[in-house]
Symmetry: D2
Subunit: 367 residues, 4 copies
């Protein structure tokens, strides 16, 4: 109940601190019989890993995934899948100068107030490093979803005020460009802007967009466990997220009913389409068969090299500066974390939704 467990049926527990010996995830509730490719997990971890570009923390970590249980002869067995990632670049003493400081924009002060004790080394449990465990678990969820043709694609939609132009959308850049920004012009602009940020020891926020294709209609639960509600929770659980929208999102508040309502229409080939997708693929908390459309808004990296004011544990007002290099923007590395959280949510709902109708149960239990 202290918050490190996600999901009802496809349940993930993550553990580990930034500078402890390891971090990890335990998935309980993954169905048996999923063919699990460890290489695909590694690939997603590599997308999140620091040190890939000049814009990201140059901490060099192999982030080598180990699967300790739950897989037999290449298939999941239905028992817990335990994943461990060793922390290979621990230098806890690097953080001693911050042990008494409550850094602005970080969780230092609230953690101290809540727990009365705090692993101050690199943010401890509140570090972004924890998201590596989510990415590994998310990569398992993706492999389950792939069996149902459900595919999740996230990308950098904006860095500061620089947004991608949909007309120049170039999906290949999501993987190939270090900023995961699928518009070559915007990516180039953003690169320049981030160089300036690095020079000025400053940082900037940005936006991750996410699309899910292959969604069946009817996924989600009513009332409090609406699919969009859980997706929002999943995305807001990523440290730096300050806003989430689905479909027309923010804009919906200014639209008229006659504009916003998505009209259904049977096509000549008998398929059902919505003419627009302002809903972002969810109505009443349940998927409508259209692609999901989400955006997550990230605040700027709170660790900046500029001198800042704050207070310390001795209740003094102080000035201090964070040393070392830090990402001037967190968004490109967060792209795969967004995918992971969406995947974990959808895997959970895929399982939960299997029993909505007694007719489904009949097919399972009575052949």
């Amino acid at each position: 109940m202290s918050g490190s467990i996600f999901g009802k049926h496809f349940t993930v527990t993550t553990w580990g601190e930034s500078h402890g010996p390891a971090i990890g995830a335990v998935i309980d509730g993954c169905p048996a019989g999923v063919k699990l490719d460890q290489e695909l997990i590694q690939r997603d971890l590599d997308r999140r890993r620091p040190g890939q570009s000049r814009y990201a923390t140059p901490r060099s970590e192999a982030d080598q995934v180990q699967i300790l249980s739950g897989v037999f002869h290449g298939y999941t067995t239905g028992t817990p899948v335990s994943i461990l990632i060793a922390n290979q670049d621990q230098k806890p003493s690097d953080y001693d100068y911050l042990s008494a400081v409550f850094r602005p924009g970080h969780a230092d002060y609230p953690y101290q107030q809540k727990y009365g004790i705090r692993d101050y080394r690199g943010g401890g449990r509140a570090s972004g490093r924890e998201t590596a465990a989510r990415v590994a678990a998310g990569a398992v969820a993706k492999q389950l979803l792939a069996e149902f043709q459900i595919e999740i694609t996230a990308y950098t939609y904006a860095i500061g005020a620089i947004e991608i132009n949909p007309n120049r959308f170039t999906p290949g850049l999501i993987i190939s460009h270090p900023l995961a920004m699928p518009d070559p012009e915007a990516a180039a602009q953003a690169s320049q802007f981030l160089d300036r940020m690095a020079e000025e020891k400053n940082s900037v926020g940005g936006v991750v967009a996410c699309t899910v294709t292959g969604m069946p209609a009817g996924l989600g639960e009513p009332v409090f466990e609406k699919l969009d509600a859980m997706l929002a929770k999943a995305l807001f659980s990523i440290g730096a997220v300050k806003a989430v929208e689905i479909g027309s999102g923010i804009q919906a508040a200014r639209m008229l009913g006659s504009e916003h309502n998505d009209w259904y229409q049977y096509q000549d080939d008998g398929t059902l389409l919505k003419k627009t997708n302002h809903a972002g693929g969810i109505l009443g908390g349940i998927s409508d068969g259209s692609p999901l459309k989400l955006k997550a808004y990230f605040k700027p990296t709170p660790s900046i090299g500029q001198e800042q004011r704050s207070v310390n544990t001795s209740q003094e007002n102080i000035s201090f500066a964070i040393t070392g290099r830090h990402d001037p923007v967190i968004v490109p590395r967060a792209v795969v974390v967004v995918e992971a959280m969406v995947a974990l949510t959808l895997a959970d709902y895929l399982l939960i939704g299997a029993t909505s109708q007694v007719a489904n149960l009949r097919r399972l239990y009575k052949g």
Copy 2:
């Protein structure tokens, strides 16, 4: 697990359809010893009730709350508090003409896909009427929170493009004005605009803002159960919400770290303040002692009187129009629903957080 239960420790289950005999809520986990004023529950229900103004559905329902259990001599006993609200204005047959139509913007189609059966009368379980049960439960949560000086105030921030001007902020209007919009000029403008919407058989979206004062630092849980994540889930669980932001929210994505970081500072009187509150009162998922600042963005009411296109259960493309009067905007009645969901979330975290430190347990169990 089908979605009608909210909360881990202060747990609310709502039940009931729009045109069944009643709706209700059961609260399990409310601590014993809370003085419960039924009048305060009724007052919040009255704020949500339709028919109060010319902008809202003129269905006349007393929405009289009954408490069936869990209260003894005016105090909660720690056992489930069962709340029932009779549906007094049921005219199920009014909806027969819609029984085969999948209304755009409504949950009709996804419900049919998910369940294979659907109470089509007035939206059934997906109706906004369900939120009356939340409001009642929320009013219980508020009375618990009030014992700790935690106060929640929501209001209409925008209707369509008409936003309140903070310089004209007039809190009294939240209760006294039918639009719950605390800026007399904006409220007047919005009234005119809504008259036009009603004439045009159209509707519009809007924004509810919410502030929580009296927050202790240290409330919330790390990682997946972050306080902001759960608040987002709570707000997205309100049918028409398409975006949620906390603190600087959307704007955070364009800000620099040097702007966004809220600096702590001890005041001369020894109190700790943040100079700004871009975080909206939460860092790392845990409250920092500043007021919470949230916004929920609502889509326009999907029920409009204009002719619309859609499909029916016989897989035909059709044209149809929704009869009867419908709110041209849902936002003013949603204000108290937002308060309720925030109250339910905070009550839950107040309880969950009681055991963060073994020192707290010592005080309780060892006197």
Copy 3:
């Protein structure tokens, strides 16, 4: 989280006090499409109802069930099924003389210590009356299970030292005899014994046995959520239960491995049988396809008319006697409660188990 919710997927919340206006249950998570016969619910409530025989409390209550939501045109819709049973025979003032007494064998003292406040009228929430709500919910679960030919039969196995003789097993008596004891001789003996108990203002314990037929193999979850573990929890949640056994149970502790192991054997017709069923139908927490065999051991009714010693809320040692008539044995009325708790548990596992294999999900989602 305060204990009135049962189940993970087929979730039941009960509410209500013995002498409040009503009690009830809300089922969330019942699949859509279950044909629901209200009469079958009523029939089970009638089996539990007091006043049927001279051995049971002569409080006359109609215990008329009302279904307030979740059912449309005779079928469940997948939304919460709210069930209400009015308390028609409330005489709260009858209990004033006990308001300060901590009755031995009752929950009075622990409730006071836990909550600091207590509805002392007829035991309040701790009253056996609460089980009526379970019986109603259980009758819904039974109708779901019946679709899969899973049938639950409980009966009085013993009253005090008087046990049924399996050679005289007469199933019809379970329903027709007020003691629900399917052995005419044992039932006659027990009737005489209970007459003596009533005369002596005393009470006695007993045993309920339960068999479940039609169990598919593979139901249950490993490790902590073993099917037998959850059944034990379900039965121990009935107030007066002091022991639970499955299969050979207590005797297993004295058996040899060579005796206890149930050998599998394919029959000539290709069906798989176990030659014995010491396991009671569950191995490793998962059903093995044999009938479930359970027993629940009940303590004597704690309310007896004899003078007893105890203490009161003023911290005095006192003597007192409970007035009115009370059941000299609780077991016959508990029979249908045992069935209900077993039904609720199995319904939950039927749903949970639907997603054990990805192959099952494929059949559902890919047609």
Copy 4:
């Protein structure tokens, strides 16, 4: 939801197979500030470890505990405590001859039916080896409970028909004797009996008794989450348990109300005592301040060296014999597992119970 998570607030997830690289446990929800002595965890693991005596499996495993997270400077931080125990004596190929056999008394067949795939090596997930992770987590829970003077002592009460005589109760033997049987005569008898069992390639069941002292009154939750119900679930989750009783247990069913009711009495020094403890320390699911008294009945070890009949995955009737040495009785090694499950349950309820009264919350949040 697939069963490897225990607890609501003090939550333990175990993972790992008998012959995989490691097993482990993750505790989420342990309060911050518990001084954690790794040596005490190791000591409990050593009590469970095989190979200590001639009666137990001679697999030699160091069972060395590693703590990977959640502890800082010797104290818990409130974040997940991840515990890992390497499997050092893996010889998976030893089990190839059993890969197609459904062993009687084991979970082989139900697992295959449930999952369609099964790690057959040494029982895989269903192996008793999994309980090592519980013991490690339980040892953390014990250290939390010790801060509140709650102490748990389990011991071998019976092996087959050989029971301890309370008049010869010798607590030191629980730790010092390999059978953990605190009666020197019974222990000697049992040793001889087990030698014979080993010779005969047979096994026998037994009983573990458990007492908890230092219990505060008021711990537990009403209705479905009764403390005894959860303890029963916890004990039944241990693979070989076939019955659980609390207090007078089985005997209660034959007792009279006048015998069974425990009378309260204030002593001259003002303390409140019950004259008897038939309730076993729990009334209405909530602790009454007396010691808890539990017994768990274990079936005989299903792995025996005698030739047995069964079936295989090719649907043939077969004869086979299990090779290697196996414990002729599981009970002595299960003693510390019983302690662990009781500790995990009580730790959870200690946390859950902290918020029963709003008065408690006031003391925490308002100082």
